[in-house]
């Protein structure tokens, strides 16, 4: 309780208030820029948080994650081009609403539903994360290994065009984490004589390459696409009737989004898509969906923001990322020397409550900013690509170079920019690779420790019920889609 009060008290610190405000503002702006997602921005700004210290860093990155989802809805509604992938479902009904002159109403509902979903999930985070951490406190290496494998199996559903491709990308991420000196034997693996690889491949250049530089090449391929902008007179608060009509969708989607967010690796985009389908299923106006139903905006927006708090639960309590962006935030914390997990609740409670309080504040801030300045943010979304993307490249180069002041890391970022481009071209999502990279060391270390405990016998896992349950769930999640497909036939 003392730490909770101290955490909330952080919001009285002008420096923390400033970073939360900046994070929220940047989150909305980049969310509104098509092509620059919350993940890209978090990856791009991660190097600049290194000098901040863990508490201001997380108070800066958390709000970006919260606000980018809302920012994405601005362009989804006005130009039918989601600024963030999580706002894709919002465009289905938001853009038709905007085309019939109701952009302000759609944006108002988006802001309110987003804030409700976000605050709901932070409350769940405050309650659930310590409980989960208490359970995980008794975990040993075999349980952590099983948990990490479970987390990796969940990447099968994170995007890309097939489960197998996601698993392959995730496994490549785990392999990438083996580059560098083996911690037990000191043997160098895949360093090819390059000195800077001895300590392993740094997260930051890989993240910048896979997200920002890959997107630069993707944008180069789409330069001929033109957008049609819907008119926006003013954003207005939803009417009482709108709130009544959407309350079921908002509650249902907030719950769904939080639950999906808690599942390792699944994030806001999946939550929004499922929420859209479920909102439509339970709506009395099914036939209006796709033509401009306001519930079709409220449901996905509540869900994608609810997934943010949900995704933070396994990230903080177990050290297993709940989504791509939390994988990046997790990498940022590791770079700062903080390893999230159950011990964090006893060792660094202030950090945790900084996360909770900054995310709560961010959800309130973007409600105010979204209602007051959506018109300005909508204008930002129209910055021409030839002016925006060269600037993103410059920031990427500085971001990759600055932490260690090494050009080798800029080359790594560029190499991963090209790798990411070809991955996407062949239907591989970079998200599983990032999650694999973040979890890779943990998987290897816990496997080694487990086998040492079991005297090198894999059968030792059979005597660990929690680990076996997690392995069982892994198999279930991997086989379920295949079994369901067979049953449908």
């Amino acid at each position: 309780m003392e730490a909770f009060v101290a955490g909330m008290g952080l919001l009285l610190d002008p420096k923390i208030l400033l970073v939360v405000f900046l994070g929220t503002l940047i989150g909305i702006v980049v969310g509104a820029l098509p092509g620059i997602s919350g993940s890209t921005t978090t990856a791009l700004l991660l190097p600049f948080t290194i000098t901040m210290g863990p508490v201001p860093a997380i108070a800066f990155l958390g709000p970006i994650y919260c606000a980018a989802n809302f920012g994405g809805s601005i362009t989804a509604i006005l130009i039918n081009s989601p600024g963030d992938p999580s706002a894709s479902a919002t465009a289905f009904d938001g853009y038709p609403m905007a085309r019939r002159g109701e952009a302000g109403r759609a944006l108002g509902m988006s802001a309110v539903a987003s804030a409700f979903g976000g605050i709901f999930s932070v409350i769940v985070l405050i309650i659930a994360a310590p409980l989960l951490a208490r359970v995980a406190y008794s975990f040993g290496p075999p349980e952590y290994f099983a948990l990490a494998v479970f987390g990796l199996s969940m990447v099968a559903m994170t995007g890309g065009d097939s489960m197998l491709k996601n698993l392959i990308a995730g496994a490549f991420g785990v392999w990438l984490a083996t580059v560098g000196q083996d911690l037990t034997t000191g043997v160098e693996r895949y360093t090819f004589g390059i000195h800077s690889f001895t300590d392993g491949i740094e997260f930051i250049p890989v993240l910048i390459g896979l997200f920002a530089l890959t997107e630069l090449l993707e944008q180069a391929a789409q330069l001929k696409n033109r957008v049609e902008v819907a008119r926006l007179s003013a954003v207005r608060l939803p009417s009482w009737q709108d709130v009544k009509d959407c309350s079921k969708a908002i509650f249902l989607s907030s719950g769904l989004g939080t639950f999906i967010g808690i599942l390792p690796a699944l994030g806001a985009t999946t939550a929004a898509m499922i929420a859209y389908v479920e909102t439509r299923r339970w709506s009395k106006n099914k036939e209006q969906f796709g033509k401009g139903a306001i519930e079709g905006v409220a449901g996905p927006e509540a869900a994608n923001n609810a997934a943010v708090g949900g995704a933070m639960v396994p990230t903080l309590a177990l050290g297993i990322p709940g989504s791509t962006t939390t994988a990046i935030i997790l990498a940022g914390l590791i770079v700062q020397g903080v390893r999230p997990g159950p011990h964090l609740f006893t060792e660094q409670p202030l950090l945790l409550y900084a996360v909770f309080s900054s995310m709560l504040l961010a959800n309130l801030l973007y409600l105010v900013l979204g209602l007051g300045f959506a018109k300005v943010f909508a204008r930002i979304s129209l910055i021409p690509a030839p002016l925006l993307w060269p600037g993103v490249f410059v920031l990427s180069v500085i971001g990759a170079y600055a932490p260690n002041q090494s050009m080798a890391e800029v080359w790594v970022a560029i190499a991963f920019g090209f790798i990411g481009f070809f991955m996407r071209r062949y239907g591989f999502s970079p998200a599983p690779l990032v999650i694999g990279l973040v979890l890779g060391r943990m998987v290897e270390e816990t496997l080694k420790q487990s086998l040492l405990i079991f005297d090198l016998s894999w059968g030792g896992f059979l005597g660990r019920p929690i680990a076996m349950t997690l392995f069982g769930l892994t198999v279930l999640f991997l086989l379920a889609p295949w079994v369901l497909r067979k049953l449908r036939r």
């Binding site: 630069l216 002041q405 560029i414 496997l447």
Partner: protein
């Protein structure tokens, strides 16, 4: 061959090459490795990748061949490489300035004053924030 199979074959080939490289790792005595040498875990992971790639190859649906990569992607990639080549010669800040002008122009911005303004402002921002603010030492070139 469709794109899924190309992807499966490529990932399997990469994994096999990486697997082969593990035979070149330095060998340590049993007392140090405690039965789990540095090569074991990468081999497990790469073996899994090969198995998944084979499954992808065998189960991939027939798909249309991929569209050609637009020429602008190659030009942009070339501009990125040119930037990297320019850094040791001109220094990072001048290389950034030139890159901002060149890529903006290449991507279709015709207002020279706007390009120049953006390039100047962004380069100055990088200098003020990173060089002066954070004390980052940017690479200098032979010329600057």
């Amino acid at each position: 061959m469709n794109s899924h199979r190309v992807a499966a074959a490529a990932t399997a080939a990469i994994a096999i090459v990486l697997f082969a490289l593990t035979f070149g790792f330095e060998q340590m005595p049993e007392g140090i490795t405690r039965g789990f040498g540095a090569e074991v875990f990468p081999r497990l992971v790469l073996g899994t990748i090969v198995a998944l790639s084979v499954a992808l190859f065998l189960t991939s649906p027939t798909g249309a061949p991929l569209e050609r990569i637009p020429a602008m992607v190659y030009y942009s990639a070339a501009a990125v490489i040119a930037f990297m080549a320019l850094v040791p010669l001109a220094g990072m800040l001048p290389a950034m300035f030139l890159f901002l002008l060149a890529l903006g122009r290449m991507w279709g911005e015709r207002r020279a004053w706007m390009l120049a303004l953006c390039a100047v402002v962004l380069t100055a921002l990088v200098w003020a924030v990173f060089v002066k603010g954070f004390g980052v030492q940017l690479p200098r070139g032979y010329l600057f």
